[in-house]
Amino acid sequence: MAVDALTTVPPFVYVLVAALLLPVVPRRAGHALGVAATAAVVPVAFLAPEGTFWVTQLFGFEVALFNVDDFSRLMGIIFGFIGAVAVLYSYASDASNKQTAYALSYAGTSVGAVFAGDWLTLVFFWELMAVTSTLLVWDYGGKAVRAGFRYAVLHGIGGSLVLAAIVWHYAEVGSFLFGAATGIAPGAPAILALAAVGIGVNVGFVGLHAWLPDTYPRPHVAASVFLCVYTTKTGVYAMYRAFPEGHLWIAYMGAAMAVFGATMAVLQKDMRRLLSYHIQSQVGYMIAGVGIGTTVATAGAFGHVFNHILYKSLLFMTVGVIIYRTGEESLKYVGGLWRKMPVTFVAFVVAALSIGGFPGFNGFVSKGMVLAEAHYKHLDVIWYLLLAGGVGTFLSFIKLGWYAFYEGSYDGPVRDANGLQTVAMVGVAALCVVYGLFPNALFAILPGNEGGFDYTTYTVGHVVEGLVLFVLGVVAFAVLKRPLDRLGRVPDIDAIYNPLAFYGTRGVVRAVTETYAAVDRAAVAATGGVMWAVQNPADVAERATGRYGAAGGDGANPTSLRADIGTSVLLLTAVVTVGVGVFLLT
């Protein structure tokens, strides 16, 4: 059957083959190949029959390389689609073949991770993602190298924690396959904690998130489009796999991320750094949805994954175009661009309204599902936090739009997005609107949709809620505009732990080397002393006894420790006395 034929090759293979071919083919052909390979993932994911394929042995364990269910299907569709758009955008933004090859290997490993049917394959691709994304960041050079290094270290730690959790899981369950247990080995809190924290590094738990705003603003603008999509969303997917029935603490963490990310975003001037904080904020909504764990909440979380990928990549593309055309990263040096870049401006507005959850745009649909479910479940704290995050989101995008496109001016000639960039942006923007106006198009591919959701998108209450959030955002911007202007760079948690790690590591290294040196000195001194003592025993004897042999005396033994006959007999008598004494007195 034609449909079954789709399962003959796991989809990550096409993407990785394209990544391997890219460096050796011409730029245009290579990028076309990249677009085709990633786009091919979409129909495969859409049409492939549900089930587990490619059950084989990896490192001697039973694994499944190609697992299709509602969740992986959704992830595959959006990963493949946005991969194709991002490759197109890369081509339009002068990305080198090598960079796109790294980007495709990153996208391919992500596709492999979401189609994994077991924990071992998942973590295998998970670690490969960390490697390939680090390469993608490093490829740009300059400041990206150090940031990439921090990124790699943090993801190495996170990956190790996940690996530990999975090994433990295997010890408990006896199989890596997802089908063998519900989520990660239930029952042992330590495994859950390991898994949550390990995956939490990837999704940017508050406190573990600093790599995100640190890394994503640094590389090439097209690389940022890739980066904003895959790592965090694979994390959300893995979080669901680990906690399919949710966990309240995770929901609270998601809510905290939503508020924290939005708040930090408001304070940023670097455009991509602002967007990076919004990744954390938006992923917070998804994590909250996964954490709440009901059917609607989970569907909302995955719907938000889908929508977020659309509008966040669109945002990175619009900001990328600004940076591409002006060379400026900071809001301080751009302004009034809406006249010069109308297409980009429109795309930005669509994306901003989507991310804020304005009625009629796709963010409104999926964010609303999570909010409603939090409200319905009477998780009031989470609900209020998520609402506050929404206000912060509006506020920061009004700020971004205001400074980038409206207020001020930019000196010098600026052109709008080039043709292919426009194609990429407009295509994605159109989807944002379509999915906003026709929520059922999204619901059709959401997991858990047997006979429709118990959720109506466009009710009066929901629309009012969205509008109120927007108005609050506008009011807040009006109030906070001046204080925000005066704000310098706001330190994040990495201002503490980067120096801590640096000086801590240096301290450890110093301590180790100094200790080693001290031990070495002591050993050398001791050895020297023993050598001297062995070579000059007479001197030692002189020093030890204070007795000096008569000069010119017996050459064989200058120090006289010899007992003469009288002394010998005296010694003998003494020993006998002691011996007899000991025996008679006891």
Partner: protein, 530 residues
Amino acid sequence: MSSLLPLLVAVPIAGALLTLVVGYAADRLGWPLAFASSLLHVALTGYLVVRAYATPDPLRYTVGGFRPPFGIELVVDGFNAAVVGLVAVVAVGVLVYARRAGPHSVAFYTGYLLLVAGLSGMSITGDMFNLYVFLEITGLAAYALVATGDDGRSAVGALKYLLVGTVGASLFLAGIGYAFVATGTLNMADLATKLGEVGYGSTLVRTSFALVVVGLGVKTALYPLHTWQPDAYASAPDSVSGLISALVSTVSAYALARVIYSVYTVEFLSSVAYAREFVLVLAGVSIVAGSLLAVMQTDIKRMLAYSSVSQFGLVVAAFAIANEAAVTGGVVHLVGHAVMKGGLFLAAGAIAMRTGARTVGEFDGLGSRTPLLGAAFAVLSLSMVGVPPAVGFVGKWYIALGAIQSQLWPIAAVILLSTLLTLAYFLRLVERMYFRSGTGAAAGADSPTGTGTATVADGGDDEDPTLGRDDTPTLGRDDDDAFAADDERFGRPSVGMVAVVVVAALLAVVLGPLVSAFEPLLEPTLETLL
């Protein structure tokens, strides 16, 4: 066939008399006669040792038909069979060595045979007073042998040995006297039961134990009772040093063990407060002090002598620990040490004859000057340090094992420490022999003992032109010239001398793996002793 037992003593005595009488008439017959006696003695011993290990019961002989406990009894069991065999074999080896190395006098051959008789007697007697008699025979023969050296140092050393040794023997005699007063018997087996009947709390019994241990401690040369030993060993002729270092202290240590096990018994050791501790402290102090003193020596023979103080501390400690592993280790180390230390003294003598090197400093570059003797010396040194699989390692291993089994941690620590110190004083020699070039080949060529008649050629000749040349590294043809010069100035050890040293070195290595075969032979005896 246990009627052959008295011949172990009688043959050397008869040989001594014959050598004395014939030797004064015909000087040249001295060595052959002594050698023939020794060979006969070895054959006899070999036969009896095989018999002793073949039968489970000890071989016994009642001298003169007087029944024990009144008569004198000779006994050979698994314990002393090893010692008897050792005495015979080492004696023959030394005699072969002495053929060239000297002393070439009838007095030496006679004294030598008397010493062998005394040692054999000490080894096999089952009577306390008889033990004292043989102890005195041994002592007197040893004093005389030390005095056979030509210079004053030998005479002084012998005199010191005589006086200190006699006081020690007297203490031993006094101890026997106390025991006799307490029990009315002198037979060892009888004493063992009677002492128990009198009670270990008895003042007489306790005093006798202290006196006997100290008396035999003098003969064994435990610190601080060792003072006679370095002077005697260092001043005696090389052959005599080898002989008495290998045998006299060894047999005395055996006698100490025999008295502890067969007279006072292990029960006395464990029931009387401080009895075991007294011996262990004496032994432990010996181990450490002997090693430290050895490290400080510059004269090779004195260093070897102090090394013996340390090693006998080890052996006596093993006997005091008195469990199976420790006693096995004690016997192995007793025999092994005799082979190694005798071999080292003989090797030192041969090296001195060949190169004139008698101090640590003069051992520089010896490995290239006398490769074979140097190698033998190095092998014996390393065995003494306790490098596996040599016998020195096996002995120390069992003793340390026994100490640990009895949870005597200080002794175990002392054994390890002594190994380090042994390493210090032997390794510096090996280092000098192989990793330094020889400078001024044996400036002090005049033998301090002045014994080996062939060794003292023209040693005092400071104008020797080779001296200047030897300052440059001796390589290539210069080397040969230097050796040729050595040959002119010094004697050349005979094939027999070198062979004895090499055999000793080989034995030191080969005996190690053989211990596992020896252990089951020793086991039945240990069961009765412990």
